[in-house]
């Protein structure tokens, strides 16, 4: 049976098929944003043609399909979500708009000229209902069902499509929320109903409510898409399981995902780090920085000692998203990023992007702003005749005219300006890497840079040079990197329970009961995904903090029945982790447990990457042509290699270019590239 991973992006749909033998085959087709299921099926049809099968025969032969999509992210960013209402505890309906008084941190302290916040549910669609639960879980006021009925009839009148139900302290006792959801589902036919205790069962109402509101906002569209996708796939002959890639690096059934749409925000990029981890294992590296440079965004993830980091600190646009996500940091930098001159005469690049429409000037689709792709073309890095394997012809004259727009005020020629754009965007990306790593106190120079995305291999080695990173790994599947990550990851889910207690007063039986409950739930879920429970691998963590701190540090918890003795080990681990993260620890201070977490995974199927033929160090047989490139201010004749003809063991001395159908690798002077057995490019500084 085959396993298929499909990542639907804004521009391209990437499909990666793993055969029975564990071999991978990649297919790239255009996305169809108006009917995403169509693009999904098109990519499968392309794959079926490759295997000389009908789509039906291919689908009959697939046991697991994993699907990542930008649908939820795009729905939120473009503001095309459902007409959403919110029902909350009476007296508190503005908490999601007051937003803890936060001014967007990306706006300077000294700038007051900013538009007010637009919440996803406007105030007139936010209703308070009489009900109250305390932090102890005690219900001091049951849900007033008469009031709720009145609200529901208002919602009907307003033709609401989605409802977020958000009550105070529902994480401690969801009784009132559950009842309200039940009544809404019964009486509001077809509405998407989201409850805060189900979406994010932890304390802190602003963060919980905000996540729930986002869920309601994108949920109707996402669930509608999943339902129609599954239907079409089943009709086309899919018999196997369809799993959805979630933003926390785990996977879920379509049914579950359709009810927790917020976990689809950032679903695709969350998979990339798993791909990097796999390649790190293959090449013997534990500390990795993965980058994925596409058209508009640049995603970074720092993996230290094989650990894929997660965060609960995310903002999506103006909205706080406190669900646990793979900590992929996104910056507005990509092939489409536009260059401009700021108020103080400095060259800036991005975050505005020319996007797919009109795209960079050199695409000839009407774009006139200078973009990174235009600069890359003028510098000789991109082939005008072999961009995406020749699917798009690039126009150098249009690129030059665009780049001159910023060149003139800087008193630079087109090529000089192109190089300035190239260096500036690399600096932006390098800073974005530093930002993520420095916040954790890591030195980027200790890491291997793993480069994915269509534009990644053009810029990666230059970014590495800027940051003094000695080694860059450019995977053979860099152009379909997220889909590769989906193939390379374990299938799993996670669970959380809040129990706030000082470590010295913790009721260890209660902790054991919580884990028991979560583990039973996990087993049930794994079974429902069609895996034997014997395959489950469990891991536990707890969010802990020093007494009276406000933020938690995630520490490891041992498996099995916990005893008082385990608490000491856990606390020692916490002190160590705090020191690692923040430069100090305080063994003299009390410590608290906040949230206990469980992760249940089923190990992935073994992948056998296809080996390429081996050859000598001499790569001259793959030499395709020569091209003039601008490197460090000089025009240099650079050999261009055909990636398809390279052999394992080939060594290429920079400066050099390797052309692949879906990407171009640029190797500057002072770097040397070795091709490995699986056609990954390992680039080292000399």
């Amino acid at each position: 049976m085959k396993r298929v991973c499909i990542d639907v992006g804004g521009t391209f749909t990437d499909c990666l098929v793993m055969t029975e033998a564990g071999e991978l085959h990649a297919f790239k087709t255009p996305s169809t944003p108006t009917a995403p299921a169509t693009g999904f099926l098109n990519s499968l049809e392309k794959a079926a043609r490759f295997f000389n099968q009908s789509l039906k025969a291919l689908l009959a032969d697939v046991d697991i399909s994993v699907h990542g999509t930008t649908l939820a992210t795009n729905t939120l960013i473009t503001g095309r979500g459902a007409k959403t209402a919110m029902i909350t505890t009476k007296g508190f309906r503005d908490l999601v708009e007051i937003r803890r008084g936060i001014k967007d941190e990306r706006v300077s302290l000294y700038n007051f000229f900013i538009p007010p916040y637009e919440p996803l549910a406007p105030r007139y669609l936010r209703y308070g209902v009489e009900e109250r639960t305390l932090y102890t879980g005690e219900v001091t006021a049951p849900l007033n069902e008469n009031e709720l009925d009145e609200i529901i009839s208002q919602l009907k009148k307003e033709q609401i499509e989605s409802v977020a139900i958000c009550f105070l302290h529902s994480y401690a006792n969801p009784q009132n929320e559950k009842r309200a959801a039940e009544l809404c589902s019964q009486k509001l036919d077809g509405a998407y109903v989201s409850t805060s205790h189900a979406i994010l069962p932890v304390w802190g109402e602003f963060e919980r409510f905000s996540a729930t509101l986002i869920d309601a906002y994108v949920g109707r569209i996402v669930s509608g898409y999943f339902n129609s996708l599954e239907k079409q796939l089943r009709e086309s002959g899919l018999g196997g399981r369809l799993l959805i890639m979630l933003t926390n690096g785990l996977m879920q059934t379509v049914d579950y995902s359709a009810r927790s749409a917020v976990y689809l925000i950032g679903s695709g990029p969350a998979a990339a780090p798993s791909g990097a981890l796999y390649l790190g294992d293959l090449t013997g590296h534990k500390d990795l920085i993965t980058i994925d440079m596409g058209g508009t965004s640049f995603d970074v993830c720092v993996i230290r000692d094989r650990e894929i980091p997660t965060t609960t600190e995310r903002w999506e646009g103006d909205h706080r998203l406190a669900i646990k996500m793979v900590d992929v940091h996104s910056a507005g930098a990509g092939g489409g990023s536009i260059a401009w001159i700021d108020a103080l005469g400095l060259l800036r690049v991005g975050p505005q992007s020319a996007g797919a429409e009109p795209g960079p000037a050199c695409y000839g689709k009407g774009g006139t702003e200078p973009t990174v792709t235009d600069a890359d073309l003028l510098l000789g890095y991109l082939p005008a005749d072999y961009f995406l394997g020749g699917e798009i012809m690039l126009n150098e004259e249009l690129a030059r005219a665009a780049v001159e727009k910023v060149g003139k005020p800087l008193r630079m020629g087109a090529k000089e300006a192109a190089e300035a754009i190239f260096t500036t965007i690399n600096t932006v990306m390098a800073n974005s890497i530093t930002d993520v790593s420095t916040k954790r106190g890591f030195d980027v120079r200790d890491f291997v840079l793993v480069a994915g995305g269509g534009a990644g291999p053009v810029h990666a080695v230059f970014i590495a040079e800027h940051l003094d990173i000695p080694t860059v790994l450019i995977p053979s599947y860099s152009a379909v990197f997220s889909a590769f990550g989906m193939q390379a990851m374990d299938i799993g889910r996670d669970y959380a329970r809040t129990y706030v207690s000082r470590v010295d007063r913790v009721d260890i039986d209660r902790v054991n009961r919580l884990y028991d409950e979560m583990e039973r739930e996990a087993k049930k879920d794994v079974e429902s995904m069609g895996f034997p429970t014997t395959d489950i691998v469990l891991s536990r963590t707890a969010e802990m903090r020093y007494t009276r701190q406000f933020h938690q540090v995630e520490s490891e918890i041992p498996l099995g029945e916990l005893s008082q003795k385990d608490v000491t080990t856990i606390v020692d681990g916490f002190h160590k982790r705090h020191e690692e993260l923040y430069n100090f620890s305080m063994p003299w201070r009390g410590v608290e447990f906040i949230t206990f977490r469980l992760k249940a995974t089923v190990p992935r199927a073994a992948i056998t990457l296809m080996k390429i033929k081996s050859g000598s160090q001499n790569a001259s047989a793959a030499l395709k042509r020569k091209r003039t490139c601008r490197l460090s201010g000089r025009d240099v004749e650079v050999p261009v290699y055909d990636g398809a003809r390279l052999l394992s063991g080939n060594v290429i001395q920079g400066p050099a270019i390797i052309e692949e159908p879906a990407t171009t690798v640029v190797i500057p002077e002072r770097y040397v590239t070795r091709v490995d057995d699986y056609k990954n490019y390992l680039v080292h500084r000399q």
């Binding site: 007296g91 508190f92 309906r93 503005d94 908490l95 708009e97 007051i98 937003r99 803890r100 008084g101 936060i102 001014k103 300077s108 302290l109 000294y110 700038n111 007051f112 000229f113 900013i114 538009p115 007010p116 916040y117 406007p122 105030r123 007139y124 308070g128 305390l134 932090y135 105070l168 302290h169 304390w203 802190g204 109402e205 602003f206 108020a343 103080l344 005469g345 400095l346 060259l347 800087l410 300035a420 500036t424 600096t427 800073n431 930002d435 420095t438 916040k439 106190g441 020093y546 009276r548 701190q549 406000f550 933020h551 705090h578 993260l581 923040y582 430069n583 100090f584 305080m586 201070r589």
Partner: protein, 593 residues
């Protein structure tokens, strides 16, 4: 002189900003006191060895924009006696500390490179306690500064990496909750250390000469940009004034801050000489604090596209005059406890009012006043003493030319750098249960761009008896200004509801509370900008629909007739209403209002 390319310039510049933000992030994640960790009552920055301001991306102006004065005094006091690994602590407004009030403890770290003093970095934050008569630092009736808490002049808490244990013991022995304060102190010290590491790495990478050349270049570019902004203001003298309700000692007598902004060519002088004399009560501001607020207010009116760059260069063309002995330049041993709020807010308001007249296209109105209070009591669940405060009770931002006031943002002197707490977090931490926390309709200044909404906040005491100090609040009597025809912020009110009784509590008071007392706060929103009858009727309709303004206000203040059931605009009636009051009004439905 090193030659600098634009890329290195941008890189070094942004690195400085990033290092500051990283310092703040570290404190944010590890501190234990509500004000610092949760509400971000912290400031961070980098200055060079001469005290020039290099980077000041985030903080409260009163805490850090006047830090150059402190650094010059440090240099005077210690001369060459600085070493790598030194950490200097001070919270003193006087004696060379130049600090705004005692709860804001500042940790300075000199940064050396190859044996040479290059920079100072500072992390300053509001401690859980600083001693004195009452917890919290907002005690309205102190005899002098010593009643407000422990005064720590600039002292080396850590000398070349070695902690001065005895000094630490003296300091921590003089505060309540010493364990918590100790934890926060270590959090701040660790953050300055991180910044030192980053600065040294930057110097290693680019070399001292290049780094300093880039900083000089950025300061000079910023100065030119600020001068260009000032040139856009017509030469002249512009006046603004604002008052705090009283000084907490001489009750119900407002204390005035007056600013004369004189613009001449590319320089600006902010002269506070006509302000009231310093008072016995705790509303006095030292010069460095006044300077910080005044500079911040002036900067706010400049083009936002230079907002990311402010540094020493922004300050050079702006002069701040505040004669000694006035409420804006208090002298030892004057009390200063409330000065970040009162008269700190008034200093900013006076400058903004003056400059809004000077540049209507950049006008902005007053923000909602800070409505803070401190509760001290005993938590029956733990039998431990607690002190509670937050920014939750505050209204919103004021309107600006072009946008309505930002919702929920707290007090002008915070500039949006502080945040609010969570209801659930508060109910877990202290024995109070929240009853209401919502926008209050019609409680904002109307305008073409109205103020952000006011807030209605109620909570019931489920603990034992205790006290409440309303020192950190203002705005019952003297109202925040509206700009270019916009309305002022409406008055705020605080009550204690005890059974049937509603007992009004004014700002700057200290009152007793009983179990089951409910604190009720009606905090106004921000002021408006531009005449309300020029507001886009569609925006008026939206506000009415959202219940932020009443149908009656829409009609009487905004002159827009709205159907109370359908919320449709009656354009005919609106046209008539507006024709009476707004002669400019010509054609409804177009974008010219």
């Amino acid at each position: 002189m090193a030659t600098i390319d634009p890329i290195t310039l941008a890189t070094i510049w942004h690195a400085m900003q990033t290092h500051c933000k990283e310092m703040r992030h570290g404190i944010d994640r590890t501190a234990q006191n509500y004000l610092m960790a949760q509400l971000h009552d912290i400031s961070v920055g980098i200055w060079d060895a001469a005290g020039r301001t290099i980077a000041m991306p985030v903080g409260l102006p009163v805490q850090f924009l006047g830090t150059a004065f402190a650094i010059r005094d440090l240099l005077k006091k210690f001369g060459n006696d600085f070493a790598p690994g030194d950490v200097i602590l001070t919270n003193d407004p006087y004696h060379g500390g130049n600090n705004c009030h005692l709860p804001d403890w500042g940790f300075f770290r000199p940064v050396f490179y190859k044996g040479k003093l290059m920079f100072f970095t500072l992390a300053r934050g509001h401690q859980e306690d600083t001693g004195g008569s009452y917890p919290g630092g907002y005690f309205p009736n102190g005899f002098d500064i010593h009643a407000e808490g422990i005064c720590i002049p600039p002292v080396k808490l850590i000398k070349a990496g070695v902690e001065n244990q005895e000094l630490m013991e003296v300091i921590w022995n003089n505060v309540r909750w010493p364990e918590g304060v100790k934890q926060d102190n270590y959090s701040m010290i660790a953050a300055t250390k991180k910044c030192e590491q980053r600065l040294i790495a930057l110097l290693d990478k680019y070399g001292e000469e290049t780094v300093m050349a880039c900083l000089d270049e950025m300061i000079s570019r910023t100065e030119q940009a600020v001068r260009a902004e000032i040139r856009k203001i017509p030469d002249g003298v512009y006046c603004g004034e604002a008052a705090t309700d009283d000084d907490g000692t001489e009750l119900d007598v407002p204390v005035w801050v007056r600013c004369e902004a004189t613009v001449k060519g590319d320089e600006m002088t902010l002269d506070f000489s006509k302000s009231d004399a310093q008072r016995k009560g705790f509303i006095n501001s030292v010069y460095a604090a006044t300077y910080g607020n005044a500079i911040a207010a002036a900067i706010l009116t400049f083009d936002p596209s230079i907002a990311d760059y402010h540094n020493e260069g922004s300050m050079k063309p702006i002069h701040v005059i505040a004669p000694e002995g006035l409420v804006v330049n208090a002298q030892y041993p004057c009390t200063v406890g409330a000065s970040p709020v009162a008269v700190g807010i008034q200093v900013m308001e006076a400058v903004l009012e003056a400059l809004s007249k000077a540049r209507p296209e950049r006008a902005m109105a007053a923000w909602a006043k800070h409505r803070g209070h401190y509760v001290f009591g005993i938590d029956p669940r733990t039998r431990e003493r607690y002190v509670q405060t937050s920014f939750d009770y505050d209204g919103s931002g004021g309107g600006v030319a072009g946008y309505d006031g930002y919702q929920g943002i707290s007090a002008l002197t915070s500039m949006g750098a502080v945040t609010r707490g969570n209801v659930e977090e508060m109910e877990i931490r202290i024995p109070w249960r929240m009853l209401k926390y919502e926008f209050a309709p019609d409680l904002m200044g109307a305008g073409k761009w109205r103020g952000g909404p006011g807030v209605h906040w109620e909570a019931i005491n489920e603990g034992l008896e205790g006290d409440i100090a309303t020192g950190s609040s203002d705005g019952d009597e003297v109202l925040g200004f509206g700009a270019i025809g916009g309305q002022t912020c409406p008055p705020c009110r605080t009550y204690i509801r005890r059974g049937e009784q509603e007992i009004r509590v004014k700002p700057h008071r200290l009152v007793h509370i009983e179990p089951k007392d409910t604190i009720v706060k009606l905090s106004s929103g921000g002021g408006g900008v531009g005449r309300p009858e020029e507001r886009d009727p569609e925006m008026v309709r939206r506000d009415a629909r959202n219940g932020l303004i009443s149908i009656q206000s829409a009609r009487e203040i905004y002159k827009v007739a709205i159907n109370p059931v359908s919320f449709d605009i009656d354009f005919e009636q609106t046209k008539e209403l507006r024709s009476k009051t707004a002669p400019k009004w010509t054609d409804l439905g177009k974008e010219n209002f």
